[in-house]
Symmetry: C2
DNA sequence: CACTCTTGGAGAAACGTATCTCCGAAGGCT
DNA sequence: AGCCTTCGGAGATACGTTTCTCCAAGAGTG
């Protein structure tokens, strides 16, 4: 039986190398054809259980591991999905710069693994060597800028792309985002109810959707309620600039009595700046910032934060992507977007399907002028000083 | 010229599908053989520059992207390296649980990308589907437990494995670790010099190298200086347990006047516990914890931390791994470890080469009983009360 | 008995690249 | 003129799967 191994394979007898066992070796050792081995191991074909288990046993004994490369070549599926975050500044990638990314990536990895896929972290620069070298079944893109050439190229070549953050002009298979406008308006209302008269904003200079939508919502709210906008913008990727911007905001003559910071470190920076100027939080200054970090539960005072729920986003994005990957039948390769599961479709040929995820405001002491525990007197109406 | 496309390929004329251009299409369009195309694109072979550039131009025009799967199958190299962290508890993986992992992973990804490799995050459970489905050139393992079956299996099948954390009994190609004993002794000395009389330890119950070596160093130091050990151990993956353990430690009758916490959140937990017991830091209690988070620069008071330099570790680990991958000439596939660059070899057939990286103690107010700025009197000798 | 259907499985063709081998032609040298 | 060398490139094979097609033998059916 084992003697047949040499004759059945195409492998010349000279190359007696100590290589890993291939499917042919298993077939020879089990006395069946490679078709049978493949079917037995993959649970396909019509085979009696006896044959199936025997083949599996032989494969196990030989330590057979199917070649992922060969399988990928044959099936066109690698089981790999990419994860890309737009890079600001010079760093090859600013991944996990904020807790948001770390959380999101973690959730995305878990979700992918749970469905049998693995996640590859890739740089956003389209021309990086590694992009052409990896067989990707699809890609998740975090915060693609308008007209991202990388996304366009991926989409054109038929690779499903799902973005975290509503894309500007990039064609994507689907996208997921928070309702940033609603979130900002909610915070502004929350601060107003806590007694804020002039709410300031600490925002960024970049053009990603998050920054843009949030800022626009703030400006719109200002015009609506008739408040003069009070904000400072800084390059969000530079932590030092954040501290400076926070300081600038509180040093203004028209100093706000409440501030919302769009980025993770803003809370700490604003708190430090407030101390420098002798402002007590929340008595003189109400504070809210967008952050996933739980350090703000332990600051003095604890700071109210807006969570974008990165775990939910990461999970959703990956699941949408894998749905798209598995939903398409590798047909013409053209109308991938249209073969997308119908429940997500917004229109026949319209914009790609998007999902809005809710945010969560975690209210802490920094945005409540009257501590809930010690309040005895009835709350003052918002308009009163 | 274009008419030749149909004749040259093996592809039957019936399948006129809109598929991505393959190397054959490029060859046909350029009027050369696929050998020439491959050589031209990969910079191999001997071709005049004119042919080379012409082929490249045609490839570009056709939007040709070489199939990563086919290349991997042919060359045996995927350009992919795995990153695995041992999972505690039930979570599929606890990645980025602590800032250490996030930082380390980020550095590792950057380093890999810089050398043309991409990183795949994989679960530590050996039997997960995805392991067999991905062609890996090598793997980084964070904190492998003793006798890790996953590591053994990888190593046996010829895949280079480099571990972050000195491995117990697993055979690895190389490993990188901090000098945990020196780090702990340094901290204990530092606390002693600051006036500590009884130093406590907050440690973990798991058996990874970090926990084990650190605890042993502490115990050894205790016997050396004649102090009764004062420590609490808890499952490090459970944040709630950490707070409880910190509380227990400070509630003991033999309460320490200085504590070193091995894990990231210990600083916050200990600070909170100290407040509960009315202990002032650093006056009544000196505090140091191991953390990569910079929130400890902003706590009240700022807490001295030990940094394990995860970025350096991540970079080093990946570079060692890629050295191993590229250093071996795909020869017999047996003695991969021995073909390792000589500078890392410790002995011919001895233990795998290891590298110890230095740690950094970031001294802040919590471990200095006398504030450096206000101190006028000469420092008291350590033994004195 | 002639026939269909089902079962169990074999054969062979891809998948798309890299690379080893080999070959014609042109030029240089004696 | 004959030979050697280099240049430029073509042919064919192998990488290890998956899967489509097909076949033989037995079982049921009229």
């Amino acid at each position: 039986m084992t003697a047949a191994a040499n004759q059945s394979g195409r492998r010349p007898t000279t190359s007696r190398r100590l290589e890993r066992a291939g499917i042919r070796d298993v077939a020879a050792a089990a006395g069946v054809s490679i078709t049978t081995v493949s079917d037995a191991l993959n649970g396909k074909g019509r085979l009696p259980d006896e044959t199936r288990s025997r083949v599996r046993e032989v494969a196990e004994r030989l330590g057979y591991r199917p070649s992922a490369a060969a399988r990928t070549l044959r099936t066109g599926r690698s089981g790999l999905i990419g994860l890309t975050v737009t890079t600001y500044g010079e760093e090859p990638f600013t991944f996990t710069e904020f807790a948001y990314f770390a959380e999101m990536a973690r959730a995305a990895t878990s979700a992918a693994l749970g469905r049998g896929y693995a996640l590859v972290v890739l740089p956003a620069s389209s021309r990086h060597d590694v992009w052409g070298n990896i067989a990707l079944d699809g890609t998740v893109v975090i915060d693609p800028p308008d007209q991202d050439p990388l996304v366009s190229e991926l989409y054109r070549s038929g690779v499903p792309v799902v973005s975290d953050g509503k894309p500007g002009n990039c064609p994507v298979t689907a996208w997921v985002d928070n309702d940033h406008e609603a979130a900002v308006l909610g915070i502004l209302d929350h601060l107003s109810e806590a007694g804020a008269r002039r709410i300031g904003l600490l925002t960024g200079t970049s053009t990603d959707t998050y920054t843009r939508l949030s800022t626009e919502a703030y400006l719109g709210w200002c015009t609506k309620v008739g408040q003069e906008p009070v904000y400072e913008a800084y390059p969000a990727h530079d932590p030092a600039a954040g501290a400076v911007a926070a300081d600038r905001l509180l040093a203004r003559p028209d100093r706000p009595d409440a501030v919302y910071g769009l980025f993770d470190p803003n809370g700490t920076d604003l708190l430090a700046a407030a101390r420098r100027y002798g402002l007590r939080v929340p008595d003189d200054l109400l504070l809210v910032c967008c952050s996933e970090s739980d350090v703000y539960a332990a600051t003095e005072p604890p700071i109210t934060t807006l969570s974008l729920k990165p775990r939910k986003i990461g999970t959703t994005v990956v699941n949408l992507l894998i749905d798209a990957i598995e939903g398409v039948d590798s047909g013409t390769g053209v109308d991938i977007a249209r073969l997308f599961p119908p429940r997500f479709r917004t229109a026949g040929n319209g914009p790609p399907p998007g999902t809005l995820m809710p945010t969560e405001l975690i209210v802490r002491a920094s945005s409540q002028r009257r501590s809930p525990r010690t309040t005895v007197s009835p709350p003052r109406p918002p308009g009163e000083v």
